[in-house]
Symmetry: C2
Subunit: 435 residues, 2 copies
């Protein structure tokens, strides 16, 4: 919206004067506004984070769902309890056990995707102006929630091993020197969105020690942790510090997002408040969705399915990094060991945000790095490329098309100088080689 | 929670000092805390608002769902768009047409139950301390949301014809005299929860005229509008004033709540913000849920099903008012023409909140009227009795058990004087004969 000057209504919006302060911060996210463009069939979208579901056994799922409705329909179609279906709360720790996490079903709160869990935890902890610390860059969907709650988002830089402990501590200390306490550190330790990196094993206890010393709660958002291409797992922050971490998990990437079922595991007092906040917001998560997921975990080889997903996504990662090597030697990138994303650094002087319309004209889409920084303070020198959804052959073609755009922009820069507006130098701007 | 004095953590909750101001207002609602008790099989629960789903054709639904997953599984299991499935947004106006409402699919925002729609609209309009006007009494679930957003809830009394226009105007004028503007009027015009009454046709334009004159947005919450026992409908406020009303609908009572699919129809500028707020909170509503509902509307006689629900609920309403006449002549009540609830006035001196544990001991549950007033300012002289879920024979037995408790309490009052703490005289206290 462009209307930032409240007044007593107007012909376009008679309620313009009535909105809450937070409503003025609502805007179409950069990822969201791309959805319409990227869904045109002729565009290769390297933008979205949609999982590839083609290998799910739809016929068997159809049959199993029918059996579930016949047997449990009376409960599956009814209201459930706010904390979530007890049976599913028992099964979720089995999923978490694959990453070595020991969770108590009592501490699980099931949510409408883990997005709702981020929403609730922000609702519980953030008054307007409170400080949230995130990695720089961080997940655009969480930034959007933090903005809704009028948080002051500060970001600490990451490198190939995740957030840099010294920089994390420095950021916190600088804030404390200004009399500002960080409410929580929101962290994506595994196969980071958008940066593709993971927090190294060495740094995990360091991050916890820093947060503990400064009395900062950790929100560990882990949708991709089981999608390591070699089947390895990392030690969860939750495992290292159960009382200091609210852990967020999701079925969206290891099964299917259409059920909108995610979860949080929180220390008991926080869990209790999360349950109440979720009840207030939605009464209860979808019973049909929860019964369906529970049914899937009971009757399908879900561990084998995760293994299949890993293999499938590894092929796509390979297709992407091969194509980058072939077509984009002028750029830098990491080789992610899991998850959905490659974080591509542009040559000096190029601007990912300004380049995007030219890319779409050339029938390829990505997300500008600016989407992943609070207040658009940085990120013009990076693009997030997703390899999760398109077929390998399309990934290659998409990168090829993108390389034409980069090459063209680079020629312009060499002729006329940089179009790129450099990051404005906030606390949080990482240098291009940090990821 | 009892901890209202923030401090730097404690052994029970190390994060006690970190919560946002709004989190201190979170508490188990009176309805919610009853769920555990009321679900014991030996208790007749006249407390919950769960619809009765026994007559839904589960086998056919199972088959239809299986066909849907086979055909549309690739999309139904995937992320959808934040505003909701386009096909379902086209079908929802067909449902609304049964009440004579002309809605544009473009203005429909699909939500996780209409509860989420109340949450979003409150998020959009309410800064802490802003005034929301509701009927007295009003839906407990919305009060819980309003409290989360730290609203100042003011309530205007109702009588057998719904909210009293003169009282509504007086409440608004009194507030304006204190320099306080009402942000929105939250209204349940049809088969009110908990009071069972409907706003009369005569009063509807009056209410709109008052709100319009004071520039107050109307939130019209209408989950029960199609459940008139004679099949009649009321004129929607949305029909009378499309630009002044955010209309909320739900499939929970006319089909099944387990899908968690509700919707809002809002003026375009408000709709646009609601969409963004919903995307921030949950990305998108459940695709599986939306495809299932869409499939149901396409392939089942949903109008016939609503007619069956009406007949079934009318029988239960009859069972309840018959039992009240037989066993509870010492009380007052209305005879609702639709919906789920009877609002029962207790004899002078009795206290619905204090009596509840004795009722549960006598194996019957209800909701104390206090749940439906902001700040517990009133309602001790009323009980909400639900006739939606138990069988007629159980309704009769429940009322009989309840009559024993009332009779017992009445004897005590006659011997020792009233236990009832009278309403503390806020703006909002209605007299017992107003409903």
């Amino acid at each position: 919206m462009n209307e930032t000057n409240p007044q007593r209504g107007n012909r376009l919006d008679p309620w313009l004067d009535s909105y809450a302060t937070r409503a003025y911060g609502l805007r179409e996210s950069e990822t969201r506004s791309l959805f319409a463009v990227a869904s045109r069939p002729e565009v290769v979208s390297l933008a979205g984070g949609m999982p590839n579901l083609k290998d799910l056994p739809l016929d068997e799922l159809a049959e199993a769902t029918a059996r579930m409705i016949r047997k449990d329909g009376g409960r599956a179609l009814q209201y459930g309890n706010g904390q979530g279906l007890p049976r599913l709360r028992e099964q979720i720790p089995e999923v978490m056990a694959l990453e070595g996490i020991d969770a108590d079903p009592e501490d699980v709160v099931i949510t409408t995707g883990s997005q709702q869990a981020v929403d609730i935890v922000t609702e519980l902890f953030i008054d307007p102006g409170d400080v949230i610390l995130t990695e720089a860059p961080t997940y655009v969907g969480s930034l959007s929630i933090f903005s809704t709650y009028q948080a002051d988002v500060q970001q600490a830089p990451i490198d190939a091993d995740g957030v840099i402990p010294e920089a994390l501590e420095q950021t916190i200390t600088d804030l404390e020197r200004q009399g500002r306490h960080v409410k929580f550190f929101y962290c994506l330790p595994n196969f980071h969105n958008p940066a593709g990196v993971s927090l190294s094993e060495e740094r995990r206890p360091q991050v916890i020690e820093i947060c503990r010393r400064h009395h900062i709660l950790i929100i560990e958002d882990n949708p991709y942790g089981l999608l390591d291409f070699e089947g390895r797992t990392h030690t969860a922050l939750k495992t290292l510090a159960p009382d200091d971490v609210v852990y967020l998990g999701s079925f969206s990437k290891i099964f299917a997002p259409g059920y909108r079922v995610g979860w949080a595991v929180a220390p008991p007092a926080v869990r209790e408040k999360m349950k109440l906040a979720s009840e207030a917001a939605i009464l209860c998560p979808s019973s049909v969705g929860q019964f369906s997921i529970s049914n899937y975990l009971d009757n399908f080889d879900w561990r084998g399915q995760i293994q299949d997903f890993r293999t499938m996504y590894r092929r796509r990662r390979d297709a992407m990094v091969d194509a980058l090597s072939e077509f984009m030697p002028m750029c830098t990138w990491n080789v992610p060991e899991g998850g959905f994303y490659v974080w591509v650094g542009l040559p000096e002087g190029l601007d990912a945000k300004e380049m995007l319309p030219r890319a779409v004209t050339n029938l390829v889409a990505y997300v500008s790095g600016t989407a992943f920084y609070a207040g658009g303070r940085a990120g013009r020198d990076h693009m997030r490329l997703s390899f999760c959804y398109p077929e390998p052959v399309d990934i290659r073609e998409g990168v090829r098309r993108l390389s034409e755009v980069v090459t063209h922009d680079l020629e312009l820069v060499n002729l006329f100088g940089p179009a790129c507006q450099r990051p404005s130098g906030g606390v949080s701007a990482p240098s291009p080689d940090q990821v």
